[in-house]
Amino acid sequence: MIKEKENTEPAKKSKKQDPIIVIKDLHKTFGKDNKVLQGVSLTVNKGEDLVILGRSGSGKSVTIKCIVGLIEPDKGEIKVFDENVLNLSKPELNVIRVRIGFLFQSGALYDSMSVRENLAFTLKKHKRDLTPEEVESEVMEALDNVGLSDAIDKMPSELSGGMQKRIGLARTLILKPEIILYDEPTTGLDTITSREISELILDIKHKRKTTSIIITHDMACAKLTADRIMVLKDGVIHAEGTYEELEKDEDEWVRSFFQ
């Protein structure tokens, strides 16, 4: 375990030490004095699932939003696929974004479009030369992956919370990303649906060999999916380790997440 650590060492249990996301000394302040990130540093290796825990407002979502350029940090360095995303132009950043999938907490489905259109929209924007048959086939494949091919003609308002997250995940998967960032994938779902989503995350990792960062408060999800867990406190990485290590951590505050 590490305490108030500036630079994170590679995961102990990671088989390959091939960093795919490297964040160094990330700072972000909202308004005049709302210091959310105060020097977050972390490394995610290829094929690894990193879970980030922390209290609400501790900066977990801000960290992953900085990775995809949705939020601009005040200071620090973010390297994804060896490219410093903070120095990239918009077109260059978009090249990186296509290789990163982002699952929003709410699913963020386009509510004016059906499930088919939601998936096809993203695909058509990036692969303009695909025929309608090829688009349909890719949409069906993505829906099959999340087990919701019968929902293809439904509107987002007709879907339950769990289904919306699955469709959101299907939309993320359709571009075949190498990295997937999950922002609280099981929040607001019942225990059974949460477990289904967690198993889906694990399944995607095994089938597609993706690298993931999972922001969650759901310890069952963390236990199932995490190769490594980091705990954010006061804008810095406060603790790091496997689920089993942190469960028995000497710090009571860290242990309280696992009780």
């Binding site: 995809v68 974004r97 907490q105 963020a108 386009y110 509510d111 993203t122």
Partner: protein, 252 residues
């Protein structure tokens, strides 16, 4: 007071930057033709009934209200020309633009505001899709082109309303009514009035998009965005109209 003034100027500055981005992106591919045509249908075609009813009432009421005064001066025969001139030069453009501000600008503000707070715009951004190009450029362009067409339509329906108004108290042949209108109209009555409607359309779309795109988090802000879009767009229409009238007065 000073803070309000400061915020107003900051808002104008931000809106200007937002509008500037439109001119930067409008000519850059990919062109979202399908979404643009969809917006033309929503903004133009779906507003036709509302504009038709208001246009007809404008023409009818204007005729009925003006008639007694003209009768007093024995100038009843000027009625068709006067009604047509008032409608084409001022009333139809401004009233139609105000209706569009209420219907279209608020609709765009609420739609984009809702997309913003439910992270749909962020979802586009992280999928490497340019949300400004897809959502904003198409809507502003559709507004800029559809509002002038709606104004032409309101002019035509208003003239028919005027004809009905004249025939409540008299018996005027439609051909004669139209001839009188065409005799009193000049090309220069139509051009400045048409040019300003493009500006009305642009600002209606731009303000709706700006308010929606900048909605802060929370559902409350969606209502605020829609409301603020109507108020700002309506005020802007009057300001543009005032400037347009002054310019027309200077040159024609």
């Amino acid at each position: 007071m000073i803070l309000t003034l400061k915020n107003t100027f900051a808002e104008i500055g931000n809106a200007t930057v937002f509008a500037k981005q439109f001119f930067k992106e409008v000519f850059v591919p990919p062109y979202e033709t399908k979404e643009f045509l969809k917006q033309c249908y929503v903004i133009g075609y779906k507003s036709l009934p509302l504009v038709a009813i208001t246009g007809f009432i404008m023409g009818l009421v204007l005729t009925l209200q003006s008639r007694p005064t003209l009768v007093k001066f024995g100038a009843e025969s000027w009625l068709p020309g006067m009604v047509a001139l008032s409608l084409i030069r001022e009333i139809a453009p401004v009233i139609t633009a105000l209706i569009c501000a209420g219907k279209i600008s608020s609709g765009i503000g609420a739609e984009l505001g809702s997309m913003k707070v439910t992270e749909q715009i962020d979802a586009m951004e992280v999928s490497a899709i340019n949300p400004y190009n897809y959502l904003v450029v198409t809507r502003i362009l559709a507004c800029t082109l559809m509002v002038p067409i709606l104004v032409f339509f309101a002019d035509a329906v208003g003239i028919i309303g005027g004809y009905v108004g004249i025939n409540i108290h008299g018996d005027v042949n439609f051909y004669r009514y139209l001839t009188q209108i065409l005799q009193s109209l000049e090309f220069l009555d139509i051009i400045p009035a048409t040019v300003k409607t493009f500006f009305f359309g642009f600002f209606i779309g731009m303000i709706g998009c700006y308010k929606g795109f900048n909605a802060s988090n929370g559902t409350e802000s969606v209502g605020k965005a829609a409301n603020s879009a109507v108020v700002t767009a309506s005020l802007t229409i009057f300001i543009i109209d005032m400037v347009a009238v002054q310019i027309t007065d200077l040159f024609f």
